[in-house]
């Protein structure tokens, strides 16, 4: 370890101003601070000691929290593939996971390569440190797209989102919209057939490197998501096995969103470490449940209120997307309102919009937009209180 530290110290001058590798300073700096805790000490005039927490640690825990959902998502891809091919009897657990791994890995690689490539370039250009925010975004993106999404579409969408939703606002911490959801929205509006299409996108239908099975066209139609089925005419309600499968995660859907149990494991970690706000998470579920119950009571839908919470991207969005601290409401009271409205809008879109079975993405993006307004109201209350105090005295 010492040798590595010494080696880095030796090559460091090459990357500094005037060194021959100065163009890669951000890259060097990124890798150095990844390997070692920075040794910079506080300047005079600022606090002399610091809490050990930093944004690298926070982002790391978001990624760790995503791992159960990601690993299960890989397994589910293999499972859905075997199910569609009618070969569930002969497929092994490990074999199905391996197939899913092979299907998802290229997406993760593309997402990171494109996103981090842009981030490194911008950091170097602006003479800033590399910011680690994209490390979480880059793993979220492959988890919220259908398994069959072509890599070139993914690359284009990632580039669009990193540049137009994040970097032009000033990078991590300054963006208005959640970059992972902007990627998803870009794909959704630009390539609708590849995102929901005729429900053929949710199941991988080709074997990869000898793993998995080829699925013939007629079988693939069975791969509609439960919400997709519900949106079709003549729907009378789910049977209980569908709901249990949704809790386990054995339903078609985007890569990481299906298993409520895996997401709950991640949620526990995020809440325990305080990385995500429990206020937001809880109120999204409360808002969704309440709206679902009202819609059902009004006779607008035959989906039970609790079914909304376990189907589609609701749980995943509530745990990993709505709680993004940068794009959510920042005042403590505002977090409740923000969460409730996400739940409300998501279920409203699901129930009242005949064309589109899922509403979570749109709900969160819409509330990202309104979060500053919600905060404004709370901050303004404080301001008025102060102003009133001043006039009372005079």
């Amino acid at each position: 370890m010492k040798a590595l530290r010494n080696y880095l110290d030796k090559i460091k001058p090459n990357f500094e101003e005037g060194g021959k590798l100065h163009a890669f300073q951000s890259l060097f700096d990124g890798l150095e601070t990844f390997a070692f805790v920075p040794r910079t000490t506080g300047r005079a005039g600022s606090v002399n000691i610091h809490d050990a927490i930093d944004s690298k640690r926070i982002i790391s825990f978001v990624i760790i929290a995503l791992i159960p959902a990601l690993l299960f998502g890989m397994y589910n891809i293999g499972y859905q593939n075997a199910l569609a091919a009618g070969k569930l009897g002969e497929a092994t657990v490990l074999g199905m996971w391996w197939f899913g791994f092979l299907a998802v890995l290229p997406k993760i690689v593309v997402s990171y390569a494109v996103g981090l490539g842009i981030e490194f370039t911008v950091a170097q250009w602006k003479h800033e440190e590399i910011q680690e925010g994209f490390l979480a975004t880059g793993i979220l993106i492959p988890m919220i797209v259908p398994v069959t999404t072509p890599l070139w579409m993914l690359a284009l969408a990632v580039a669009f989102s990193v540049i137009l939703a994040k970097e032009i606002f000033g990078g991590t911490g300054m963006n208005i919209f959640n970059p992972a959801l902007v990627t998803r929205a870009f794909l959704f509006f630009s390539y609708p057939s590849a995102m929901t299409g005729d429900n053929t996108v949710w199941v991988a239908g080709k074997s990869l490197l000898g793993a998995g099975y080829d699925v013939t066209g007629a079988d693939a139609l069975s791969g509609a998501t439960p919400l997709g089925q519900a949106a079709q005419e003549g729907f009378a309600g789910f049977d209980s096995s569908t709901i249990m499968n949704a809790i386990y995660g054995l339903i078609p859907g985007s890569v990481g969103e299906t298993s409520v149990i895996a997401i709950a494991l991640g949620a526990l970690l995020l809440l325990w470490t305080g990385v995500a706000s429990w206020k937001i998470m809880l109120s999204v579920f409360v808002g969704g449940a309440a709206t679902g119950w009202l819609m059902q009571a009004a006779g607008l839908t035959s989906i039970q209120w609790y079914e909304h919470l376990v189907l589609g991207g609701f749980a995943f969005g509530a745990v990993f997307m709505a709680t993004d601290p940068v794009t959510s409401a920042r005042t403590e009271g505002g977090k409740y309102i923000y969460g409730l409205l996400i739940g409300l809008v998501a279920v409203m879109v699901r129930v009242l919009n005949p064309g589109y079975p899922e509403g979570m993405m749109l709900a969160i993006l819409l509330m990202n937009l309104f979060a500053p307004l919600i905060d404004y109201c709370f901050v303004q209350r404080n301001i008025s209180r102060r102003a009133k105090r001043a006039t009372n005295i005079k």
Binding site: A35, A44, H50, R57, I59, G170, M174, S277, R386
Partner: protein, 443 residues
């Protein structure tokens, strides 16, 4: 019975090396310094020349804007150096002590304000808004004194107070002739000189740091509105005032806490303001180590060296490891059991509230835009949106700063927030610069 205010927000960081109640005395130093930077917001004008003989209590500096406010020598002796830096900025005025020169005698019978200005003790008043040296033309609505410092490794004022209770009460009584005095004490303080202090309104504050910050106490007792001014003074400086009234002499002897993990025998030291720090540090430090000597508190003080001089407002000197020789691997994922964090992604929550930590001066992360929300508010026990105020200062939006309550804060109120900040923003520096800009704009 005094009113008790319970504060929930805040954070007590337990650091190793708290000073024991033992008070030691050290020999005087061969040079004393008056450092104008210790008195924020003052424009110094030197009124002595090198070679002049001065008594303890004679003015070395005055404020250009208010020449009646004097900044005095802590000792009698010869002015040895008027030190200037870049662009002739005055860095310090040094005095070589001479024990044979008797201190200046003041007539304590006359007007209190004039006496305090003439004796240099008025300079210890700080005024809010802006947290600067008080302006004698202002009519403060009140004077606030916090009798405890809740920061880690801070001076325990009850140790200082022992034997000086009368001077403290005299000081309070004297201040009460200028404006109503509010005394904030801690729920843990039992000395009757505090709990039943006369000529002031006593309020008890019960809660974690920064409950001892006078700004927090003002916010809960009588928040500052636009156009209002309050003055604040440290409790030990109240004793200075008491001494002056009793003896007619200026005696700036402090009982300074020498504390921190790198101090061999943490204790209290009787020292004059402006005394060289090496007199107290002798034999207390390990020569080979990278150390950070802090003139003042670990949270709010300024990094200095053993050649530095005890800052005017410093009630403690803290010494911690600098940590710039520390090569810690993969900090983003390792358990790092020795580190302290409020985040449960580390394990300090498992190690009990009794454990004392050794923290070094590393920032432990890169500076980022503000990412997490609510981090500051958890440790900011005032009715102010700390994060929004910081953003308004960074954006230079003066109207919004006013609306969000910048007049009520001082940099030190943000110390704990700066400590916990995962984005590693230099909040105290940001607030100081914001206050300076605002003061210029409003001048």
């Amino acid at each position: 019975m005094a009113k008790v205010i319970k504060l929930r927000k805040g954070l007590d960081v337990r650091l190793k090396g708290r000073a024991t109640a033992e008070i030691t005395s050290v020999k005087g130093s061969d040079e004393y310094a008056l450092v104008p930077d210790d008195f924020v917001g003052m424009k110094p004008k030197v009124v002595v020349k090198e070679g002049d003989v001065v008594k303890a209590g004679d003015a070395l500096l005055t404020d250009k804007l208010h020449p009646e406010v004097k900044f005095v020598s802590p000792v009698g002796g010869t002015v040895s150096l008027v030190e200037r830096g870049d662009r002739r900025k005055l860095l310090s005025v040094r005095v070589k002590p001479d024990a044979s020169i008797a201190p200046r005698e003041f007539n304590t019978k006359g007007d209190v304000k004039t006496l305090l200005m003439e004796s240099g003790l008025f300079a210890f008043f700080r005024s809010r808004p802006y947290d600067v040296v008080a302006n004698p033309e202002d009519k403060p609505k009140a004077i606030f004194v916090s009798a405890f410092n809740s920061m880690p490794l801070a001076q325990d004022f009850e140790v200082v107070l022992k034997g000086q209770e009368t001077d403290f009460q005299t000081g309070i009584t004297t201040l009460s002739k200028l404006a109503p005095v509010h005394l904030g004490i801690s729920a843990r303080q039992t000395s009757t000189a505090l709990t039943v202090a006369k000529d002031c309104e006593v309020t008890v504050f019960d809660g974690p740091a920064p409950a001892g910050n006078v700004g927090v106490q003002i916010n809960h007792i009588s928040p500052i509105n636009k156009g209002e001014v309050v003055w604040t003074m440290g409790p030990e400086e109240v004793i200075f005032v008491g001494r002056l009234m009793r003896t007619g002499r200026v005696d700036l002897t402090r009982t300074v806490a020498l504390a921190g993990s790198e101090v061999k025998k943490p204790c209290y030291v009787k020292m004059l303001v402006g005394q060289k720090l090496d007199t107290m540090l002798e034999g207390q430090l390990d020569a080979g180590k990278h150390l950070r000597i802090i003139n003042g508190n670990v949270m709010t003080g300024v990094k200095t060296t053993a050649d530095g001089f005890l800052a005017a407002h410093a009630t403690e000197v803290n010494v911690i490891p600098e940590g710039d020789d520390n090569a810690e691997m993969l900090g983003w994922i390792m358990p790092r059991l020795k580190e302290f964090s409020t985040s449960r992604s580390y394990f300090s929550w498992l190690q009990g509230s009794k454990k004392e930590y050794v923290l070094d001066a590393r920032v432990k992360g890169g500076e980022r835009h503000m990412i997490m929300s609510g981090e500051y508010d958890r440790v900011f026990p005032m009715d102010i949106y700390a994060g929004y105020l910081i953003k308004a200062i960074i954006a230079g939006d003066i109207d919004r700063q006013e609306q969000l309550g910048i007049y009520e804060v001082a940099p030190e109120d943000f110390a704990i927030a700066e400590f916990v900040d995962s984005s590693k923003l230099e909040l105290q520096r940001i607030v100081r610069e914001g206050l300076d800009i605002l003061r210029r704009e409003n001048a």
